[in-house]
Symmetry: C2
Subunit: 84 residues, 2 copies
C-alpha cells in the first residue's frame, strides 16, 4: 500500500475538517528488547524543527505512542492554523 | 488500521533483513495547491536531528517522496548499523 493512500485512509472525510495538517511518524524497529528508548527525546527535537517551518499551537498537536516487543512508533498530528 | 500494523505489513519478512531500522514519515495535507513545499528543507533538518541519536551511514538511508494535489509525503528509511 502506498504511503499516500495510508494517510488518505486515515483522514476524517468531513468538510469542516478541511484544515491544513502535518503528520510526523517515527517507527523504530528493534532487534534488542532492552534498549532504552530515545523516541521521547527525539520527539522534542523534531517538534522544535517543525516549529521553525510552521506556526503551531500546543493545543493543536496530538501525540500517539505505541510500543511492543518488536517496535515502537511515535505519531505527531498537527493541525496548522488557517493563516499559514 | 493501527500504525504499528502498517509498519509491520511494510517490513520485508526475511531473516537476513533482521536489522535495526528507523523510519520517519512526514505527510503534509494541503488546502492550497500552490504553496511552496518546505519538506525538502525539513527533511535535511530531521536527518540532522536523527544523526544525534543514531549512527547512520549515508548509504543506509533511502528516501521516498510522493506528492499529489492534496498532500505530499516524505519517507525516510534508515537501516541502523549492527553495533548501535
Amino acid at each position: 500500500m502506498s504511503l499516500l493512500n495510508y494517510f488518505k485512509k486515515s483522514k476524517p472525510n468531513t468538510a469542516q475538517l478541511a484544515k491544513e495538517r502535518l503528520q510526523i511518524l517515527v517507527a523504530h524497529e528493534r532487534t534488542q528488547r532492552n534498549q532504552p528508548s530515545y523516541l521521547p527525546e527525539l520527539q522534542k527535537e523534531l517538534m522544535a524543527v517543525i516549529k521553525k517551518y510552521v506556526q503551531v499551537n500546543q493545543d493543536d498537536i496530538s501525540i500517539n505512542y505505541e510500543s511492543d516487543d518488536e517496535q515502537e512508533t511515535l505519531e505527531l498530528n498537527i493541525v496548522l492554523p488557517d493563516n499559514v
